[in-house]
């Protein structure tokens, strides 16, 4: 997946001289995950900027660049380090167009690796998507396949709105797949029903897709047909796809890594409780990280895995 992300940036920068990349260690070093490898060599240090160690500065200057019409792609080295830029994101990026009456769009793309599974402990494992999804004015996108990663990132860079692009670093290298060449775009705001099914809907995104699919595979052998939907974009959310799936199956399991309380799963569940209540045949279950900081030694217990997901789907399929 990380190569697909890298390719997307190459494509975008070749296509449009307004695109530039900035962040810590993104230049000479090619990014700590090598997502920006080779960019500085091709586009030079004025278009691929190694910045001082300040997320406030990275995002703040990216805002200024966007106001002038550039399309900055800012990297936050780990999303756990996005908080020093929180003020710029929440107060400025998300609200610039609105507060200026539409005069100042602020199309900054922020890319950042998120999530657990790499033995990163409290500060290299977080999944803070709910903070940003709750912030009116930001789009939030999370791919789960290399093709989507490329297609969604290209769409994000050429979008008119600011996009937080969260990359499931756990599957940067683990998940492979064909990636279309050229200007391949995937529209932001559309979920993908990756595996159709009839008994239970499973909603997931990012690094939770592989275990969700694995769980579905296991359950198929048991005669339970799970429909697995990859949300891909949290904002805008493809609510129609979510509702359609649950209207069909009558049952839903929601999966994410972040702590459960006020996590993104809560919104999905609330949408179902408001708009699909009469279709629901079983309680809506969330399989998520626990409501603790992210623990280092116990991460495999903390993170939802295929077994935990299958267990929840099984119970949901049986509930009446």
């Amino acid at each position: 997946m990380v190569q697909a992300i890298n390719r997307a940036m190459f494509e975008a920068m070749r296509a449009d001289p307004n695109v530039l990349v900035l962040g810590e260690d993104v230049g000479v070093n090619g990014g700590v995950f090598r997502a920006t490898e080779g960019l500085q060599k091709e586009f030079g240090p004025d278009r691929v900027l190694d910045t001082p160690l300040s997320e406030t500065g990275i995002v703040g200057t990216a805002v200024g660049m966007a106001l002038y019409g550039l399309k900055p792609v800012a990297e936050i080295q780990f999303v756990d380090f996005i908080y020093p830029a929180f003020d710029q994101i929440v107060s400025e990026i998300a609200k610039f167009r609105y507060r200026s009456g539409g005069q100042y769009p602020c199309h900054v793309v922020i890319r950042s690796p998120y999530g657990g599974g790499i033995k990163g402990g409290l500060y290299h494992s977080q999944s803070p998507e709910a903070y940003f999804a709750h912030t009116a004015g930001l789009k939030v996108v999370i791919p789960s396949t290399p093709a989507d990663a490329k297609g969604l990132l290209l769409s994000a860079i050429f979008d008119d709105d600011p996009v937080l692009f969260l990359e499931p670093k756990r599957i940067y290298r683990a998940v492979t797949g064909e990636v279309p060449d050229g200007d391949h775009r995937v529209q932001i705001g559309q979920a993908a029903t990756v595996r159709p099914g009839s008994d239970v809907s499973v909603f997931a995104y990012g690094a939770m897709m592989p275990p969700a699919l694995q769980a579905a595979e296991t359950l198929a052998a048991e005669g339970i047909s799970a429909e697995v939907v990859d949300l891909r974009s949290l904002v805008p959310l493809d609510e129609a796809a979510v509702l359609a799936s649950v209207e069909k199956t009558g049952r839903a399991v929601i999966v994410h890594e972040a702590p459960r309380f006020c996590g993104f799963g809560a919104e999905l569940s609330a949408i179902l409780a408001e708009k699909a209540l009469y279709s629901l045949k079983a309680p809506v279950v969330r399989v998520t990280g626990y409501d603790t900081p992210f623990p280092y030694a116990l991460e495999s217990l903390y993170l939802p895995g295929a077994d935990r997901i299958a267990h929840a789907v099984r119970a949901t399929a049986r509930a009446a």
């Binding site: 300040s54 500065g57 703040g60 020093p84 107060s91 400025e92 904002v235 805008p236």
Partner: protein, 359 residues
């Protein structure tokens, strides 16, 4: 103040080295206009005709002379107190009053508190409230302009208190590293609400903080239009010559309250105020104009009256302007409303039509 703007430095790209005597009256008129608007707005707020107001009294010389030294193509990143700058940039009084009222004429579409405005065509970027955030924007815009080959500078306006903000540190540091063509114009008005300058930071001057970022800082008397103009002009020259940014500390005094919600008598002495009132920048420039024979007491009277008339007429227009349309609430969150926002707009529309809620 069409006069002030078209004849100002803002409109011309060849900025003269010094403030020519013949521009002084025009500059003075802009300062007077700012003062007149300020006083009018304070009273409008007391009357409940606008909700809130942030006065600039005492800072007119610093703002107007600084803006005078800029080119119309330069980008201005204001805080909430930069009325004097806005006037020099050419923002019409009526438009400002629309913003203070929050009516349908407001280009911010009634979304922001008074004083939080911006106008793309005047290269005056819409302010937010959190202090300091505009500082790193100014740096980013300067870097972007340089990349595009545009020979402009950017300028960030902020107060003494704002030197403590995260973006002051990040913005100035980035500017130093990238030698961004940016001017940092700090109006040290001695107070950040109730905190005096000397308890904001232990550094001797604010200007000297620039050395921590590898570029020069300059202290200037912010009640002296000539000094401010010269310092800004030189900083702008440096910026465009690739010599990097400059931090300018203009020493001024906030003669009024922090805002209409503030009562400065709670925290500062009448004596201090009185002392600074003697250095009122408008009186100072008037004195110079009198000395130079560029104004008489009578012609000065007319300047004030003209300003009052201008403001009065604009206010009348602004107060007659329709309120904002409720349906606009859902615009500009994104370039195009999402399905969810359209659904919420329909829901609100329904509530309005059913009479459940009233605009």
């Amino acid at each position: 103040m069409a006069d002030a703007t078209t004849s100002s430095g803002a409109a011309s790209s060849s900025i003269p080295a010094d403030l020519a005597a013949e521009t002084l009256p025009s500059l003075y008129r802009t300062m007077v206009l700012a003062r007149v608007m300020d006083e009018r707005c304070l009273s409008l707020q007391r009357q409940g005709r606008i909700g809130f107001y942030v006065p600039l009294q005492g800072q007119e010389a610093a703002q107007v002379a600084c803006a005078w030294a800029l080119d119309a193509a330069d980008w201005v990143f204001p805080a909430y107190r930069e009325l004097g700058v806005a006037l020099v940039r050419g923002v019409p009084v009526k438009l400002l009053l629309d913003q203070f009222i929050g009516n349908s004429g407001d280009e911010m579409k009634g979304r922001q508190m008074p004083n939080h405005y911006g106008y793309r065509r005047f290269k005056f970027v819409t302010a937010s409230s959190p202090v300091g955030t505009q500082i790193s924007h100014a740096v980013g815009t300067a870097m972007a302009a340089r990349r595009r080959g545009d020979a402009i500078c950017t300028i960030a306006f902020f107060g003494d208190g704002t030197t403590s903000s995260n973006d002051f540190h990040a913005g100035l540091n980035f500017a130093g590293v990238y030698r961004a063509p940016t001017l940092f114009f700090c109006q040290n008005n001695q107070w950040a609400i109730s905190l005096p300058r000397e308890r904001q930071t232990a550094s001797e001057t604010l200007a000297m903080k620039a050395s921590a970022y590898g570029f020069p800082g300059v202290v200037v008397d912010g009640t002296d239009v000539h000094a401010v103009y010269r310092v800004v002009r030189e900083a702008r020259r440096r910026a465009l010559a690739g010599e990097g940014p400059t931090l300018i500390e203009a020493q001024v005094y906030r003669l009024g309250p922090h805002s209409t919600s503030d009562d400065p008598r709670r925290y500062r002495s009448d004596a201090e105020l009185a002392q600074w009132k003697e250095r009122d920048p408008i009186a100072r420039l008037k004195h110079e104009l009198l000395t130079l024979g560029l104004v008489t007491e009578e012609s000065d009277q007319k300047v004030w009256e003209a300003a009052k008339e201008l403001v009065g007429a604009a206010l009348k227009e602004a107060e007659a302007t329709a309120p904002v349309d409720p349906r606009t609430m859902f615009d500009d969150v994104f370039a195009r409303p999402t399905p969810a926002l359209e659904e919420q707009r329909r829901a609100m529309d329904g509530l309005l039509k059913e009479g459940v809620v009233r605009p």
